[in-house]
């Protein structure tokens, strides 16, 4: 067997998180209609402004068409064949963790996210979302002492309706795009973070999303608001069981940063990717956008995308404030039949706004990995600057890498730089490392993690090692 083939084989590693939790679930009937939207809203006992928001979105969605401009191929999605609400029974909001179904705690333990008081991660607060609902949030009280609100969005709707009403849908409007409209109509749960003026969030915040049901869509909604001078670092992780059907995941994330505020949002996405023939896996259609509303505000996206059968995702920054800063650091690994069309949009509105884009795509197997990015400089963005770097690494000879950079500038005094490269792990590089006693698998994984280093360096410390391990795991397997 040639080295090239052996490298390809390396990338095939069984999915560790493919188990299903056997738990009684309350589900509504399949299908989507205005009644279903009303049902979801009433199940969550929502105020009327939110029901109106959902219905408006639903009606807009009906008028819209599914986008087909991405370089993705998949059979048409039957939106009437999806369950839009599923929740583990005993879902009344728990007063304490002792009341949470032990099976759920066990599930998160198995995923490496212990929630119980004794075992939970130190210095990371976790909101755990299982199918459509949040089951627990750790360190809430400790955070509250600092005025930080960290809870599920359903809870926030009850406890802080004024904040939700003020900010929800202001970054990603209901009619923004097809999947955002769908999410706005049926979103189930997600996280809400509010950092008041001048507060530096004392710990990392993290949400862990777990899809468990085979026929349920997951539509989570996350909203993070950092007031003047506030700062926060937030991380989301996701896994799902192995099914031979596809599950739709259409999330919306909105970030708002006021003057001098800073939000760092990191994602380690490891949804089930389907098998080696492309059967099963998550369809991941996600709208993530941050608005640097205030002067000198900063929003930084870091993503490590390793899962999903289809990824359609463009975490973006609207740089409204003067001297605001947007960043996008991305590693996307595709293998077998996975398809990813991912990138970012940097919309420069404010003067002297700056943005940085670093994208690393790794394609193995027969997968297709596309970077798609837009850098737009508006007429008032005097002195705006952008730097983009898009690197692709090909493993084997059947994978594809594409780069689609779009640059639009209406400001003659802006500086936009774009660099791109494509490389392949060469036999000579592998031999060089091997001839120093480094095994084949370790050599491949060293080179891949070296390729991704600029991005991993951006992850919160607690998760950088985890991301490195995850990638190594994806690359592990038998040689020869």
């Amino acid at each position: 067997m040639s080295n090239a083939q052996a490298v390809g084989d390396l990338v095939s590693q069984p999915y560790k998180y493919g188990f299903v939790t056997d738990i009684e679930t309350e589900k509504i009937a399949k299908g989507l209609s205005e009644d279903v939207v009303r049902l979801i809203s009433s199940k969550k006992d929502e105020p009327s402004f939110l029901l109106d928001f959902r219905l408006r979105a639903y009606r807009q969605w009906l008028q819209m068409e599914e986008p087909d401009w991405a370089r993705l191929g998949y059979p048409p999605i039957d939106y009437q064949d999806i369950i839009y609400y599923a929740a583990p029974k005993q879902q009344d909001k728990k007063a304490s963790l002792d009341e949470v179904d032990p099976k759920l705690l066990e599930t998160f333990d198995k995923l490496g996210i212990p929630l119980s008081e004794q075992k939970r991660l130190s210095n990371v607060a976790v909101d755990a979302v299982f199918d459509s609902v949040s089951i627990a949030t750790t360190y809430k009280e400790k955070l509250a002492e600092h005025g930080v609100i960290f809870c599920s969005i359903s809870e926030a709707v009850k406890e802080h309706p004024e904040l939700i009403e003020r900010y929800l849908g202001t970054v990603v409007p209901t009619q923004d795009n097809y999947f955002a409209a769908l999410n706005s109509a049926v979103f189930s749960d997600g996280s809400f973070v509010f950092i008041p003026k001048g507060v530096e969030c004392p710990m990392e915040l993290s949400t862990y999303f777990r899809i468990n049901s085979g026929d349920t869509g997951q539509f989570e909604r996350t909203l993070i608001v950092a007031e003047e001078g506030a700062s926060v670092s937030y991380l989301e992780g996701c896994t799902a069981p192995m099914f031979d059907t596809n599950q739709l995941h259409a999330a919306v994330v909105e970030l708002v940063a006021l003057d001098d505020a800073s939000i760092k949002y990191s994602t380690v996405q490891n949804w089930y990717a389907g098998d080696e023939n492309g059967v099963g896996g998550i369809y991941n259609f996600v709208t993530k956008r941050g608005q640097c509303r205030g002067d000198r505000s900063k929003i930084s996206w870091t993503q490590v995308e390793t899962g999903s059968s289809i990824t359609w995702k463009y975490p973006s920054c609207v740089l409204q404030g003067a001297d605001s800063v947007g960043e996008f650091y991305s590693v996307a690994l595709t293998n077998n039949c996975q398809q990813a069309d991912t990138g970012t949009k940097m919309i420069h509105v404010g003067p002297r706004s700056r943005s940085t884009i670093v994208s690393k795509g790794i394609s193995a197997g027969r997968s297709a990995n596309s970077y798609r990015g837009l850098v737009q400089i508006g007429p008032k963005a005097v002195g705006a600057k952008n730097y983009s770097q898009c690197d692709s690494m090909l493993i084997g000879d059947q994978a594809a890498a594409n780069t689609y950079p779009y640059i639009r500038s209406q400001q003659p005094q802006a500086a936009v730089e774009h660099e791109a490269s494509t490389c392949r792990i060469s036999e000579d590089q592998l031999f060089y490392l091997q001839s120093r006693g480094i095994g084949f698998e370790e050599a491949v994984s060293m080179m891949v993690s070296g390729f991704c280093r600029d991005v991993f360096n951006q992850l919160p410390m607690e998760f950088a090692a985890e991301a490195d391990k995850l990638l190594a795991l994806k690359l592990e397997g038998s040689v020869g």
Partner: protein, 264 residues
């Protein structure tokens, strides 16, 4: 240093090898004992670089006949990484660049792989830094090179020094240095050769592959072998290299022709 009773480290017998369909090695014989320095000289295309790659286990070369034993063990059965771990080192003519992989981390992983094989304990980051700083002196290398990616943006001389640094860390018993002198200016050559000389002990051996006498002015070989058409045509002492320098390689062609005549 020639000691007839020194243990044999490397024993090559009638070695044949090809790359793709082309046969390049056509029966190489060579015995290397502990403490010896050997030089293999020859023209481009004579097979000297192929010999080094075959010994290190490069996957592009296929061995079609003969044997290679390293301290009695069949070397040809082992993967490249196993050969390195048991003490066979290849210093590359063109060391490749590996972007993103930190030189320091690379050196540490490689050193620990060799140490594990020898039954020595693994060095953590701190212990390794101490070791590597000490070894840097062998090649008078700036510690700044440790923070860069493996060979990335290194000049020719810096790459070769990095090779000798690896040799100093891995402590091989047989070091094969493939055209280590190519692309070096006089100063760099002196430093690299000085490093090789410092690392020579009565227990290890060096196989130099080179075109030119000038490397052998700095590292004195015990044996000089002249390679042509995939075989070692003549073996002598260091004076053979001087003879080559004086007479050029034309007489090698004549000998080859004569040999062909005899066979016919």
């Amino acid at each position: 240093m020639i000691r007839p009773d020194a243990p044999v480290l490397l024993e090559i017998r009638d070695l044949h090898a090809r790359v793709e369909a082309k046969e390049i090695l056509k029966g190489v014989n060579l015995t290397i004992r502990a403490g010896e320095v050997h030089a293999v000289m020859g023209r481009n295309g004579s097979g000297k670089s192929t010999l080094s790659k075959v010994l290190a286990g490069h996957p592009a070369y296929t061995v079609t006949g003969g044997t290679v034993h390293y301290r009695g063990e069949n070397l040809l059965e082992l993967d490249p990484e196993q050969r390195a771990r048991i003490g066979v080192f290849l210093g590359f003519q063109y060391p490749v660049e590996i972007p993103g992989v930190s030189n320091l981390e690379f050196l540490r992983v490689a050193t620990n792989a060799r140490r594990a094989q020898k039954g020595e304990e693994e060095l953590d980051t701190f212990a390794f830094e101490d070791l590597v700083r000490d070894r840097l002196k062998v090649v008078q290398m700036d510690p700044a090179f440790l923070d860069r990616s493996v060979n990335e943006g290194f000049s020719g001389g810096e790459k070769k020094r990095n090779e000798i640094l690896q040799m100093a860390l891995l402590d091989p018993l047989v070091a094969i240095l493939d055209e280590t002198d190519s692309g070096l200016d006089i100063d760099a050559l002196r430093i690299v050769a000085g490093g090789v000389n410092q690392l020579a002990t009565p227990d290890n051996a060096t196989l130099l592959i080179t075109h030119y006498q000038r490397l052998l002015d700095a590292i004195t070989p015990d044996y000089v072998h002249v390679m042509a058409a995939g075989r070692i045509l003549r073996t002598g002492g260091k004076e053979l290299a001087l003879e080559l320098e004086e007479r050029g390689y034309d007489w090698v062609d004549q000998e080859l022709a004569a040999l062909a005549g005899e066979v016919a």
